[in-house]
């Protein structure tokens, strides 16, 4: 049995577009830089908002939801960790949707995040679990189908949600 194919950036972008996302709010992440963020720059379906720090993006995405605009926060897991208080405040305390796509920098392909050799990668899912934030891992081609439901769930439940990108795209 052959190994499943890695997910491709195009499949990720099409899933994001199909979810009604208009704004991409981002600090670059090498995990998704080449396959997702660079193509998004020239994709006219989206407005790209480059932020200096990820917690700015949390607040921008949450505020856009009041305007019935969907946004995706495209960041690295280090930025997620840095933004916990903003996610706690805007997402969890104020119950606002914050859809996040989070690159798990240097997670070993095929290894579950909680079993990674990288401490930072290992703690991502437990922290999200502690905050009650649903998460979906996307690493292989057939897992791109998890993206649209995850974004929809964030907006329908008015609560943060995370799509974890498990390999460099």
């Amino acid at each position: 049995m052959s190994e499943a194919s890695p997910v491709e950036g195009k499949a990720i972008i099409e899933a994001v577009a199909a979810s009604g996302v208009e704004f991409i709010v981002s600090v670059p992440d090498i995990t998704t830089s080449q396959g997702v963020l660079w193509p998004l720059v020239s994709d006219k379906r989206f407005r790209l908002v480059r932020v200096c720090k990820e917690d700015e993006g949390v607040s921008i995405c949450a505020a856009l939801s009041f305007c019935d605009k969907r946004a995706l926060l495209l960041i690295q897991y280090t930025g997620l960790l840095d933004s916990i208080n903003a996610i706690r405040a805007a997402g969890c305390d104020y119950k606002l949707p914050v859809a996040m796509m989070v690159g798990l920098l240097e997670k070993e392909p095929g290894v579950p995040p909680t079993q990674s050799q990288r401490f930072g990668v290992r703690i991502v899912e437990p922290i999200l679990d502690a905050m009650g934030i649903p998460h979906a891992l996307v690493e292989y081609e057939n897992e791109a189908q998890r993206i649209a439901p995850a974004i929809a769930q964030a907006y329908e439940s008015s609560w943060p949600g995370a799509i974890l990108i498990g390999r460099r795209i």
Binding site: V49, S59, I60, A63, L64, F66, D68
Partner: protein, 188 residues
């Protein structure tokens, strides 16, 4: 130095149907002054984030003027916001910082750089096209229409002292009713 409540009274006469995004003591004073301004998004849960929330609102509703009443300590927690806002260049965003030189809601301790740091200078260097500074009430009253009409993003540093202590209504400000009222007002 201006008293903040008196400066806000002047501002309140000119905001019309703008979205207001106030923080901490500014939020309490704004609520005491304009409790029925439903287009108010109280941004208190995470210090420093008000201007980022205001940017989201300004991008999502370019037809509405968005006025953020930031604090100096708050802005220092999120200085990158100046560059992000200037880079996105929303014409409908007016960014006031209430410079009282202290963490008023946290015991009155001085901010780093109290009296030395130039918030207007930082906004100008970040790329805000319209930057103002006011320390006198009469000067602010004379210029407030010009500030609100300037091409955004606009930055205005208000050098202030606290006003009469407003009622502390954190229950409403943190509660879901405040955001539900804001959401409903935004849809009207």
């Amino acid at each position: 130095m201006m008293r903040r409540d008196l400066a806000f009274k002047i501002l309140a006469r000119h905001v019309g149907d703008a979205i207001i995004v106030p923080v901490y003591q500014a939020a309490q004073e704004w609520r005491a002054l304009r409790p029925n301004h439903a287009l108010t998004y109280y941004s208190i849960g995470a210090m420093g984030q008000a201007s980022s929330a205001a940017l989201g609102l300004a991008l999502g509703r370019p037809d509405k003027r968005v006025i953020v009443l930031d604090g100096d300590g708050s802005l220092l927690m999120n200085l990158g916001t100046l560059v992000t806002i200037a880079s996105q260049a929303p014409k409908n965003l007016v960014h006031f910082v209430c410079e009282n030189g202290m963490y008023e809601a946290n015991g009155g301790h001085p901010i780093p750089g109290q009296g030395h740091v130039s918030f207007a200078g930082m906004a100008r260097a970040a790329g805000y096209p319209s930057v103002f500074e006011f320390a006198e009430l009469a000067q602010f009253e004379a210029q407030v229409e010009r500030v609100l009409a300037a091409e955004g993003p606009v930055f205005a540093d208000l050098k202030l002292v606290p006003g009469e202590p407003p009622p502390q209504d954190y229950t409403f400000i943190h509660g879901p009713e405040a955001r539900a009222a804001f959401r409903a007002a935004l849809k009207r």
